[in-house]
């Protein structure tokens, strides 16, 4: 029998440090021997003071940072993939089908409209363009982005508006695993509530979520449990 909430992500002895060649080759250890598991349908929020490596962990799990040691096991389709040692093409396939990520900042091609940016998250996975645009529009409206903004590129938007474009793009493909790095940091209460609602729906649909959230109200509203990170001392 399969458990109702199977594991979908597991790190084993994950370690990450940065070597700064521009600063005389100093090495800064950030993560050491980290073991984290994430199950379908749960939301785990990373806790710990600033500088303990919460963002580094999220970025390592997405393959944006290169893990030095250990394994990052991700359930991808019917298989387990070790993202820490996977070929770039496999990492891209995992990101397309399994692993979503909402970063703190929006980074997009200039000139492309907001609607197209969000719709592309669907068309790149095979959804027909018309359906993708329709769903993108309704997702943007859920995040309270008014229709006249949809046809504009987000470059001139406020921080909060850009963050909502980023959220729309992150939530719309319904990835089985979603990583959120401070998704509500620039949002007002109304929009934070919209995000809480999106997270609840995603969890109900079986999505596993790992998040960094500093705002206590939002954290309490979405977290099933906390995963605490403690600071490492700098190596000599």
């Amino acid at each position: 029998m399969r458990p109702a909430h199977p594991e979908v992500l597991r790190t084993e002895a994950l370690g990450k440090s940065f070597t700064l060649h521009m600063q005389g080759g100093v090495t800064i250890p950030v993560l050491r021997d980290l073991g984290l598991t994430l199950r379908a349908g749960e939301c785990v929020v990373l806790s710990g003071p600033s500088g303990t490596g919460k963002s580094t962990l999220i970025r390592s799990l997405y393959g944006n940072y290169r893990a030095d040691t250990g394994r990052i096991m991700i359930r991808h389709g019917g298989d387990w993939v070790d993202l820490a040692h996977a070929d770039p093409r496999v990492v891209l396939a995992v990101r397309r089908d399994t692993l979503g990520y909402v970063s703190q900042f929006l980074r997009v091609v200039p000139r492309v409209s907001t609607l197209e940016i969000v719709a592309e998250a669907l068309t790149s996975r095979g959804t027909p363009p018309d359906e993708a645009k329709l769903r993108a529009r309704s997702m943007l409206l859920r995040l309270n982005l008014v229709p006249h903004l949809h046809d504009l590129p987000p470059a001139t938007f406020s921080g909060g508006e850009q963050q909502r474009v980023n959220l729309a793009r992150g939530f719309i493909p319904n990835h089985p695993i979603l990583l959120l790095d401070e998704p509500t940091s620039s949002l007002d209460a109304v929009n934070r509530d919209a995000v809480v609602e999106l997270v609840a729906e995603a969890k109900a649909a079986g999505t596993a979520i790992l998040a960094i959230v500093h705002d206590m109200t939002t954290r309490d509203a979405i977290a099933d449990r906390l995963f605490h990170l403690t600071p490492l001392r700098e190596a000599a």
Partner: protein, 257 residues
């Protein structure tokens, strides 16, 4: 598992005492965009010319797998066969569109010429296709009979792209395609390249000194210095978590807008 479209192993090429390529390996998968970045003199343009068969290496092998799955040694190919490849399966986008376009032939003629070289003969069909391609690169079809010298730099670059893509190549080599253009024109061209390449499923080897261009377009990146690949991998990983001292220097030297 599909196989490499292009693979290069052990490429060496010296110009006098200088190694332009000093043991370079590179692979490209079908539909993948690979950026090669580095400063002037790093060997990136030389690599592009060797990969595309335009220059021969002193040592090393470049293999191209055709639509039938047959691998060809690019530098052992008879010249007519290589030229045929450049007219059909491959395309080359130059930094200066004047190097690729025929300036004394109309815009439509420039696109139609590539189609005719591939065997198209029906005038109406060729003109229809030329109109369609001008539209795709956002040049008004009313300009079809105008000479390229009446076009702006950005339009010329878009015309070169239309000419290159009209024959539906599987693999396109691009040498600084946005170099020398105004920033606003660059953004438009980047968006265009990204959209067309994704829709047509074309594999691209893109040489650029502009890291922002590589980030927006490429799946994978190779960082070159002194004729060697010092670091390679997933584009966002190499740029956000660079491991090699030279890559760290390169990434930290980018001006933030």
């Amino acid at each position: 598992m599909s196989e490499h479209l292009l693979s290069a192993t052990g490429l060496h090429l010296s110009f006098g005492a200088i190694w332009a390529l000093d043991g370079v390996d590179a692979t490209l998968w079908p539909g993948e965009i690979l950026a090669v970045v580095g400063e002037s003199g790093s060997g990136k343009t030389t690599l592009l010319h060797v990969l595309s068969g335009r220059s021969a290496p002193d040592a090393g092998l470049v293999a191209y797998r055709d639509t039938e799955g047959v691998a060809h040694n690019v530098h052992a190919m008879p010249a007519p066969q290589l030229r045929a490849l450049h007219r059909s399966d491959w395309g080359f986008v130059h930094q200066n569109p004047r190097d690729a376009l025929r300036m004394e032939v109309s815009a439509g003629g420039n696109v139609g010429e590539r189609l005719m070289a591939q065997g198209a003969r029906h005038y109406g069909v060729i003109r229809e296709s030329a109109i369609d391609w001008l539209r795709q690169v956002e040049i008004s079809p009313s300009r079809i009979d105008d000479m390229p010298h009446t076009f702006s730099g950005g339009m010329l670059q878009r015309l070169q792209i239309a000419r290159t893509l009209a024959t539906h190549p599987r693999l396109v080599f691009m040498d600084e395609p946005t170099g020398g253009l105004d920033v606003s024109v660059q953004a438009r061209l980047l968006d265009l390249i990204r959209t067309l390449v994704a829709r047509l499923g074309i594999a691209v080897v893109l040489v650029t000194h502009d890291i922002a261009v590589a980030r927006l377009l490429a799946d994978r990146i190779l960082v070159m210095r002194h004729g060697r690949v010092v670091e390679g991998g997933l584009t966002d990983q190499v740029l956000d978590d660079p491991q090699h001292p030279y890559t760290q220097l390169l990434v930290s030297s980018v001006l933030q807008a």
